[in-house]
């Protein structure tokens, strides 16, 4: 909730700030600058570069302030770490009361530290001081009655903490945390948790980067990062290539021949809406969990998309182009090679982009289910050991790779089919 509020606040304040100062450093000089109607005119709405940059920065900013990262100068209040103390009052079987202190030391998870020392006290009643060590975001149970004189007698009980009365299942706020009493009458100290996220939920960005470097160099579970990602990419490419190899000719045949279209239409139309992930169990039963299974799955994921795009590409050839080619003396084969195939390339490329995206998503999911190596395998293995930094690193890498694949396809499209959308 707080995160959302801060995010909205950043959004609004940077927007207002940008509006206030933007006219100072550049006046709009493009074509839409002279337009008076911009609300509702889609063509005059362009993506604001500054907004994109600030958007990304603010995401990292939020990530930083809630994880105590080194990348942000300010942070949300962190958990209490260090030494603190509180006192309690106990009553014994005789009806006498006595006060004692509990000395607490709080450290981070994974750190090695000792219980604090108890200073000597001259006038001591039957209640004796205690020492407790606990960890940030955790709580520590202390049985104060154990070292108190008469602590095991029936009438003994703790009646107050820091002078405030306490009963079982109640809690009292003390310095740097809260003390609560269990049903059986023991005390439990919970240090102040702050507003930051615990690293096992969300590690700070630098921890993720550090993990990235560590895993890129040493690998994770004896598999290097390059190997993991390489295997995922290899599966995607193999599945996509096999799918295209069968799918594109099949699509052409369906676009050019009645029998082929009639024969394969029901199959394609039935298989197309099935999400490839739904095929994972069957593929595992048939082909096992090894490469053959995954490549078969990706082949099926790419096949229908490529078939449909090739068929659409053939249908998209304007009849006047085909007529023109015939009356220029081209044979059927020449029309296929020189007219139908080049004319269907834009559609096929669009299909290829979709297929690559689907394959990339499917391979990660398939690796989550069962794999020896791969990006998905890496993050599912890390999640079992609560290595959240590796999980986040993996997710970011998967995103970057998926995005890069799409960008590469777009680049290739621009180079290979410059006439797209200009016909």
């Amino acid at each position: 909730m707080l995160v959302l509020l801060i995010y909205i606040l950043i959004f609004v304040s940077t927007y207002l700030g940008y509006k206030a100062i933007s006219h100072l450093f550049h006046a709009k000089t493009d074509f839409s600058a002279r337009k008076t109607v911009t609300f509702g005119d889609e063509s005059s709405v362009t993506s604001n570069k500054a907004a994109s940059v600030i958007s990304i920065i603010s995401l990292f900013f939020l990530w930083g302030i809630f994880t105590g990262s080194v990348i942000t100068p300010v942070h949300m209040p962190g958990p209490f770490v260090g030494e603190t103390t509180f006192s309690y009052t106990a009553i014994n079987a005789d009806g006498k009361t006595s006060d004692a202190s509990v000395y607490v030391r709080v450290g981070f998870l994974g750190e090695d530290f000792e219980k604090p020392d108890i200073p000597e006290r001259l006038e001591a009643g039957f209640a004796k001081d205690d020492a407790l060590k606990t960890k940030a975001w955790r709580s520590g149970l202390i049985r104060v009655q154990r070292n108190d004189e008469g602590g095991k007698q029936a009438g003994y009980k703790v009646i107050a903490v820091n002078g405030q009365t306490i009963e079982p299942s109640q809690s009292v706020a003390v310095a740097d945390g809260t003390v609560s009493m269990t049903k059986k009458g023991s005390l439990s100290f919970t240090p102040y948790k702050g507003l930051q996220m615990e690293p096992i939920w969300l590690p700070p960005p630098e921890a993720v980067v550090q993990r990235l470097i560590e895993i890129a160099v040493d690998g994770y579970q004896n598999v290097t990062l390059a190997e993991n990602i390489g295997w995922s990419l290899f599966r995607v490419l193999m599945g996509f290539l096999l799918g295209s190899l069968i799918g594109i000719p099949l699509g052409y045949a369906m676009g050019l021949n009645n029998w082929f279209r009639g024969w394969f239409d029901p199959i394609v139309e039935f298989m197309r809406p099935i999400p490839p992930l739904a095929l994972i169990p069957l593929v595992i039963i048939w082909f096992g969990i090894w490469e053959q299974g995954k490549i078969s799955l990706l082949f099926l994921a790419a096949l229908w998309i490529m078939t449909i795009s090739a068929r659409a590409g053939v249908s998209g050839v304007s009849i006047s182009k085909v007529h023109a080619a015939y009356s220029l003396g081209a044979s059927k084969l020449q029309i296929l090679i020189h007219v139908i195939i080049p004319n269907s390339l834009p559609e096929i490329f669009t299909g290829a982009r979709v297929a690559m995206g689907v394959c990339w998503g499917t391979v990660v999911a398939a690796e989550l289910v069962a794999a020896e190596k791969g990006a998905g395998k890496m993050i599912i293995a890390a999640s079992k050991f609560q290595q959240t930094d590796i999980v986040i690193m993996g997710i970011i890498l998967i995103g970057i790779i998926g995005f890069s694949i799409d960008m590469l396809m777009r680049k290739a499209e621009k180079i290979l089919i410059p006439w797209k959308g200009k016909g």
Binding site: S318, S320, K321, H323, A324, A325, Y326, S327, L328, G329, A330, S331, Q334, H338, V339, P342, N343, L345, I417, P418, W419, K422, G423
Partner: protein, 255 residues
Amino acid sequence: MTFTLPNGHSIEALKNVSLSLKKGEILSILGPSGCGKTTLLNILAGFLSPTHGQVSMNGHPVVGPAPERGMVFQQGALFEWMNIRDNIGFGPAMKGEPKEKTKKEVDTLLETVGLHGFGEKAVYELSGGMQQRVALARCLANHPDIILMDEPLGALDALTREKMQGLILKIWQETGKTIILITHSVEEALLLGERLLVMAPRPGRIHKEYALPFAKLGTEKDLREIKKHPDFSAKRDEILTMIWEMEEEIMGKKA
């Protein structure tokens, strides 16, 4: 020519259309929409086979598209994935003619249609008028005996259209090709038709035929001069009235 519709009804698109053309003639076909002009042209080109009757050319029947009958379409029939040179040289390339020879021929044709130096451009870099010049040149490169044009200037603006009309006449005169041209514009039909067929709808048939002097004149004089010719405006009014009457008849039938 009868089309059977999916619902079992049939439409008589053309009925008793009979015409013969001499080599080197230029014929324009005019008529209200739905009179079967395009169907007629598709039959002539060999893209449709008629339900009755036949088309013969050079003494043999027409059974399908062939390079002896070149087509120029309204628009969008160029191959965007090839540059202008390859578009024009498509026909010879399909026949497997030597590249050097084709290159020279394409250069000459580019000159003829006024696109010198545009050979290496992409199709989408050219304006609509220029693209139609390319379509014309592509058709000529194949040395057809007859050129069939289906509203070749229909998508062009008035100014470009006038220039292109001059170009068609020039090509007709220089190459002596037989040309059949379909148009919606009465002026264009008058200017580009040594013979002019006015067709009537329902069923599509030849309504009237004219023999006109304007195409011949157009090869010598400026086209705008011809339009001032008293016969020109008289013929134009006559034909316009005729077509208007047909249109009104259709509307009347509908109502």
